[in-house]
Amino acid sequence: MSQDLELSLYVFVLATFLGFELIRRVSPLLHTPLMSLTNAISAIAVVGSILVAGEQKSVLSTVLGTLAVTCSMINIVGGYLITYRMLRMFRKSGKERS
C-alpha cells in the first residue's frame, strides 16, 4: 500500500468517527437543518467538478465537468440558503424572531 493511500484511509476513518461524535450531539429538533447542511457540505464534489471542467482535456470531460459544477452549485447555493432560512424560524418563548 502506498503511503498516500494509507494516509487517506486514516483520514477517512478518523473523519467518520469525528462525524459520528458531532452528529450524535445534534438535537432532534434540528435534524432537518442538519440534513440540508450536510447536503450542502457534500457539494464539496464541486472541487473535482471544477478541475474536470477547467482542465478542458477533452470535449466529453468538459461537458461532464460543466454539468457537475452546475449540480454542485445548485446544492451549495440552495443548501446553505434553505438551512439559514430554516434556522431563522426557530425562536424561544417570549422572544421575537431575530
Binding site: 493511500l5 487517506s8 483520514v11 477517512f12 473523519a15 467518520t16 469525528l18 462525524g19 458531532l22 452528529i23 450524535r24 450531539r25 438535537s27 432532534p28 429538533l29 434540528l30 435534524h31 432537518t32 437543518p33 442538519l34 440534513m35 440540508s36 447542511l37 450536510t38 447536503n39 457540505i41 457534500s42 464539496i44 464534489a45 464541486v46 472541487v47 473535482g48 471544477i50 478541475l51 474536470v52 477547467g54 482535456k57 466529453l60 470531460s61 465537468g65 460543466t66 454539468l67 452546475t70 454542485s72 452549485m73 445548485i74 451549495i76 440552495g78 443548501g79 446553505y80 434553505i82 438551512t83 439559514y84 430554516m86 434556522l87 431563522r88 424560524m89 424561544k92 417570549g94 424572531r97
Partner: protein
C-alpha cells in the same frame, strides 16, 4: 507563487466544516454554523480555482451562474416541501460525483492503477444509484409516483441479483480498467438499481431512505477524494456519510425496525381485512364546538402533530390555536415523534415556521411522562405513532415501535379526515377508546373552527 497556499486553504475548509457541524448542535449557535459552512465552501472553491491545471474559466463561470439561478428558487420552497427538496438535492449531489467519476475514467484509462479504479468504480456506482434513487424518492414525496410500495414476485431476488451484477462489473473494471465497453453498462446497472431500490419502499419510510441517500451521496464524494487524492473531499464526504448513517439508524430505532426491513420489507401495503374480526366497533364523534369547550376547561394540552398536518397545511391554524389557548392560561406543548412527517425533524421545522417557540416542542422520551397529567391530547394528522397496539398486540405489524402515550391523557381528541387506516395499513385502537373523541374533517378547517369557537366564547 500561490500554489503552496492551496493545501492550506483546503485544510481551513475542512476545519470549517467540522465547526459548522459542531455549532449546529444547539439552536443558539446553529446559524453561526451555517456561516462558517459557507466560508469553508468558499475557501474550497477559491483554492480549486487557483490551481494551475485550470486553463479556462469560461464553462466554470457558466455553470456557477446556472447553478445559482436554479439553486436560489430551490431554497425558497415552502417548508412543507422540504422533504422533496432534500431528495432532489441529494440527486444533484450524487449526479455531480458520478459525472466527475465518469469523466475521470475516460481521461485516465488505460493509465489508471487498480486502487484508483476501485475507488472510482465505487464513486460512480454510489453516485448513479443515489441519483436515480433520490429522483424516485422525490417522485414519491411529491406524489407524482404512487406512495404505496410497488411489489412483484421475487423482487428482492431481482434487486440483489442486479446489484451483484453491478458490483461484479465494477470489480472487473478495477482489475481491467481498459475494458472500456463495460463502463457504460456498469453505469446503466447502477442507474437501474437506484430505481428498483426505491420502488418497494412506502412513503412513511422516507425519513430512513432520505437519510440513507444522504449518507451515500457523502460516501460517493469521499470516494472521489480517494480518486483525486484530495483529503478535503475525503473529510467532507466522511462527515456527510456518517451523518446520514446516524440519522437513518435513529429513524429505524424509532420504528423498531431493521435496515433490511425498511429497504426490503415493502412496509405499508394495504393489509387485507382480517376475516371474522369484523365486530361492530363504535367511535364517539364530536363537533368543533364540543372540542372548544373541552380545550377551554383544560390546564395542559399536548398537541401531537403528524404528516396529516403538513398535508393539510394546518400549521398556521395550529399556531392560532396555540396563541388563543396560551392567552387563556392553558399550557400547550407539542409531542414530536422522531418519524413524524417525511424526513427527520420535519414537524419541528413546520411548527417553527408557524412561529411556535421551539422550547414547546418536546421529544418523545421527554413528553411521554407528561401524558398522564394532560387534560387533552390533541392528535392532528398523526396515526400509527399513537397506536397503543404497538405496546401490547404481538400480531400488529407495528408491535414494539416506540409510540407517544397519547392514550394516557384524560381526554383524547383526534382530528382526522375519515376512519381510513394510517400508513401501516392497520386500524388504530386509540379511536375506539371511551375517552377518545373524533373530530372529523380537514385538519386546517377543523382547527380553524375550533379557534373561532374559542374566540367567540371569550367575548361572552
Amino acid at each position: 507563487m500561490i500554489e503552496p497556499v492551496i493545501p492550506l486553504l483546503y485544510l481551513a475548509a475542512a476545519a470549517s466544516f467540522v465547526l459548522a457541524l459542531k455549532w449546529l448542535s444547539s439552536v443558539t449557535t446553529a446559524r453561526r454554523g451555517v456561516v462558517i459552512g459557507v466560508l469553508g465552501m468558499a475557501l474550497a472553491v477559491c483554492g480549486t480555482l487557483l490551481k494551475p491545471e485550470i486553463v479556462s474559466y469560461r464553462w466554470i463561470a457558466v455553470a456557477f451562474v446556472l447553478g445559482s439561478v436554479i439553486g436560489v428558487p430551490m431554497a425558497m420552497m415552502p417548508m412543507t416541501a422540504v422533504p422533496q427538496r432534500t431528495a432532489l438535492s441529494h440527486a444533484f449531489g450524487a449526479l455531480a460525483a458520478a459525472l466527475v467519476g465518469t469523466a475521470e475514467y475516460y481521461l485516465q484509462t488505460p493509465h489508471i492503477d487498480r486502487f484508483t479504479m476501485s475507488a472510482l468504480a465505487l464513486e460512480v456506482l454510489l453516485g448513479f444509484l443515489t441519483f436515480t434513487a433520490s429522483l424516485m424518492a422525490f417522485g414519491k414525496l411529491q406524489e407524482i409516483l404512487p406512495t404505496r410500495p410497488i411489489t412483484y414476485r421475487n423482487q428482492n431476488v431481482v434487486n440483489v441479483a442486479l446489484l451483484g451484477v453491478a458490483v461484479a462489473a465494477g470489480v472487473y473494471l478495477a482489475v481491467r480498467p481498459e475494458t472500456a465497453w463495460l463502463f457504460p453498462i456498469f453505469a446503466a446497472l447502477a442507474l437501474v438499481f437506484g430505481v428498483l431500490l426505491i420502488i418497494p419502499i412506502g412513503g412513511a419510510d422516507m425519513p430512513t431512505v432520505i437519510s440513507l441517500l444522504n449518507s451515500y451521496a457523502g460516501l460517493s464524494a469521499a470516494a472521489m477524494g480517494f480518486v483525486l487524492n484530495n483529503k478535503l473531499l475525503i473529510i467532507a464526504g466522511a462527515l456527510d456519510g456518517s451523518s446520514g448513517l446516524i440519522l437513518s439508524v435513529i429513524m429505524c430505532r424509532a420504528m423498531n425496525r431493521s435496515f433490511t426491513n425498511v429497504l426490503f420489507g415493502a412496509f405499508g401495503q394495504v393489509q387485507p381485512a382480517v376475516a371474522g374480526g369484523a365486530e361492530e366497533k363504535t367511535v364517539r364523534s364530536a363537533s368543533a364546538e364540543d372540542a372548544a369547550d373541552i380545550l377551554r376547561a383544560a390546564n395542559l394540552v399536548i398537541v401531537v402533530p403528524g404528516y396529516g398536518m403538513a398535508v393539510a397545511q394546518a400549521q398556521h391554524k395550529v399556531r392560532e390555536l396555540y396563541d388563543i389557548l396560551t392567552k387563556a392560561r392553558v399550557e400547550v406543548k407539542f409531542a414530536i415523534h422522531p418519524v413524524a412527517g417525511r424526513m427527520p425533524g420535519h414537524m419541528n421545522v413546520l411548527l417553527a415556521e408557524a412561529d411556535i417557540p421551539y422550547d414547546k416542542l418536546m421529544e418523545m422520551e421527554m413528553v411521554n411522562s407528561e401524558f398522564p397529567q394532560a387534560d387533552v391530547a390533541l392528535v392532528i394528522g398523526a396515526n400509527d405513532v399513537t397506536n397503543p397496539a404497538a405496546r401490547h398486540d404481538r400480531d400488529s405489524p407495528i408491535y414494539g415501535m416506540p409510540i407517544l402515550d397519547v392514550d394516557k391523557a384524560r381526554t383524547i381528541m383526534v382530528i382526522k379526515r375519515s376512519m381510513n387506516p394510517g400508513f401501516a395499513g392497520i386500524e388504530n385502537e386509540l379511536y375506539y377508546m371511551d375517552r377518545t373523541l373524533m373530530v372529523f374533517g380537514d385538519a386546517k378547517a377543523v382547527v380553524g373552527s375550533i379557534v373561532k369557537e374559542l374566540a367567540g366564547g371569550a367575548m361572552h
